[in-house]
Amino acid sequence: MGIVVFPGSNCDRDMLHVLSDVFKFDAKLFWHQDRLPKNLDAVVLPGGFTYGDRLRAGVIASHSPIISDIKKMAEKGLPVLGVCNGFQILVETGILPGVLLKNDSLQFMCKWTELIVKNNKTPFTNKLKMNQRIAIPIANGEGRYYVDNKTLESLKKNNQIVFQYTEKINGSSDRIAGVCNKEKNVVGMMPHPERASEQLINPKNSGTTSKIFESLMISIGAA
């Protein structure tokens, strides 16, 4: 399991802790100028402020050398997860559809919220039930997922909406919190599963959110 670290990533060590200490994956950090080894089972792009969010969140990191390796993994059908800034990067690379705009509050928002599972056929949701609710926090300034109506229709048709918010939180199209590619192996989400998978730090119930990582275990044949 690989976790990619860009200049300005700041959830990389959190993700490493959750993957290796909580879920016992064999996880490792990779600097953005390194190559990813060929035998990786999955890769995660963590949250943060790559390049200080300059120009537009995620856009500079989407030109890092390591992106070509991530693209190859995506094409091979291996599980790829982008969280928060990682999602923004995946959108900027074109691997995932849509864009992420400033929240309609025009503010950075750090808040615990709830998601509804809309697709449980991805490598990160296969242990969740359809329409199940999970407690999770968001922390972003540019988290408003936007697609035009035509794209939204195609996302719905292809089952690419993975998570929706239960509340109108930031003005996202169709309250979308996370999407996947057509092949369903690449998932991007704005909320932070790594901040919600241990009961100690989850004010609600970490059991359901943990299923995101438990799903990954099944997907790579570790469970």
């Binding site: 200049p7 100028q33 750090c110 932070h192 790594e194 241990e198 730090i201």
Partner: protein
Amino acid sequence: MSLLVQEKEFLQKKIGRKANPTELQIVAAQWSEHCSYKSSKMHLKMLPKQGKKVISEKGLDSGVLDVGDGYVVTVHIESHNHPSAVDPYGGAATGVGGIIRDILSAGTRPIAILDSLRFGNISKDPYAKWLFKNAVRGIADYGNCLGIPTIGGEVEFDNCYKKYALVDVAAIGFGKKNRLIKNNAANGDLVVLIGGLTGRDGIGGSQFASDILQEENRSAVQIPDPFIEKLIIEAILEARNQNCIKAMKDLGGGGLACAISETADTLSVGIQVDVNKIHKREDGLSPAELMTSESQERMLIITDKKKITKLKKICKKFGVPCSVIGHVKKDKMIQVRDNKNKIALLPANVVANAPLLDRHASIPKYLKKIQKEPKIKSPQNLTKILLRMLSNPNLASKTWVYSQYDHEVGIRTVVKPGHDAAVLRLDNKKFLALKIDGNPKHCYVDPKQGAIGCFEEACRNVVCTGATPIGMIDHLQFGNPEDPEIFWTFKKSLEGISDYAKHLKIPCVGGKVSFYNETDNGPIKPTPIIGVLGLIDHAPLVSQKIMKNDLLLIVGQTKNELGGSEYYEYIHGVVGGTCPSVDFIASKLNMKSVLTCIKRGLVNASHDCSNGGLAVAVSELCIKNKIGCSVLIDKIPCKSLALDRILFSESHSRYLLVVTKKNLNTVCNLLSKNNVQFGVIGTFNGSDITFRKKAKIIVNLSVDKGRKNWLRSLEALVSNG
């Protein structure tokens, strides 16, 4: 240039000649009040600094506490008041940056930020609103980008901060004890400057901060760049892991001039630098500008010659500029060169140690007048008053503020913002509780008791999470120290803090003094801020949901102490009266007993009773848990007091405890055995907050209505205009 005539003479005598202009600039930066503590240093000695858990080693810019199992916590506090009053966004952001580098320079990773913010009356003053909004955004943008959670703090509005702002930021670090930077240097070691480019921003910043704020001096305000700070953090921690750092110092107030003179003096060595080697933002900077620029995101590192290649490689990996600007010598002199030209040559100990001042102090004339108890007409409808109190921006929910801060990153935040104190988990399975508190309204009425009160309040907040206080930090903010009346308030506050620290055996592990907090509108009220760190060995008290029929206890006595209270000032518009004072014996007893109850698992939730008094504290519990509570005033321990006084007095040493019926007897027995004053005052039930005197209903407020006012009032104030 801010050197006084007598300071120039002192310097001339010390070095045996007239100093040249560049030398004078260097000395002026270092001898500014901001860098030298010349007015306060001789008094600060009264603070107790030693303790079982305190690690004090030379050259550390932050306090270090041993939290066991080979781990340490570092802590420091600073303000950025003048810059924030001119440029709230940049001033607040760079305030965060500076304190983070202090934590980093000990060799520990910054893991949390707390901020304490004060502005004018935002209900009426659009300028105060502008300062408030932008200071919050500045802190948010900087801290969020670094990935360091902002987990707590306080916000207060008071007319004394008109056209001004107090922006205090505290930071916490965590690391392994054996990785602390040892701070030593030997002849021939290299002096390396890493981080941002040096430019013209912040020139004379430390002197700007050491004078009354009369005109906007934007060039004295530094420009923030959190992205490079993030890269510096990672580069330095990697350099630390590879043993590339012998000594390290943040470049803050006074820039390179202060960093090298303080480092050389502390390590008893000489340092020679060549300003030509500094990486710059622009050409044409004079040597004096280069030495005193306060451009942000820069660190000074002393490294062994053998390690320089490794250090450069690390910096290159992270894209952090890095220049070898000089070397360590034996001569204990500061030598500045521009290529071959000698620009300055001064003894380090002279530059680093400004002549101290013993300022005159005299009791302020205003005190006698305002300590008389004002005549207040008790209002008829106390329900209405409670509702107004809950919408008071000083008491209302601060969700609008902390929801802009990433308080989850780092995945340590167990007790989140919006509670008494924040709690972080540490890698050794222990927990750290943190809170900072200030109370200028109390301190204005009684500087000594007010300061002790802030300290006790911070302790109470930490205790409410089940933590034992292990250390404190103080930030003492006052007006012009040359005014004997202001200096008196400083000395009294410091005395109070020292007395209480000694009584409770809580060492002071860091602090800062900030004077000259004045504008044309006059000086601020005395504003000491106290931060307390508490350690929890096993599990913190994470407040559980309050259930129907749970019982409410109050520990501590409610006294006729409404001077400087929110009730007097916000509702009645009067300043003065008797401010709450701390009874040291009751304070310790109540604290110990509450901690015992919490540690034994007998308490389901606890809450500190402070600003706004008992009625507000009970309402907060009800609002957060969406449940009503019926309180019997007759059960509240107090000497015969008017009803409004019982509800809104801000007496210290009081705690609210929520216990189940099952645990009630055990808790009562324990408190009685310890001779603690307490009362079982209420039962949670229904959807109204009611206070009764015998059968008579005094207050009856629906939780829902209270909640709406409490939750929305601050946000409504900010978003309207």
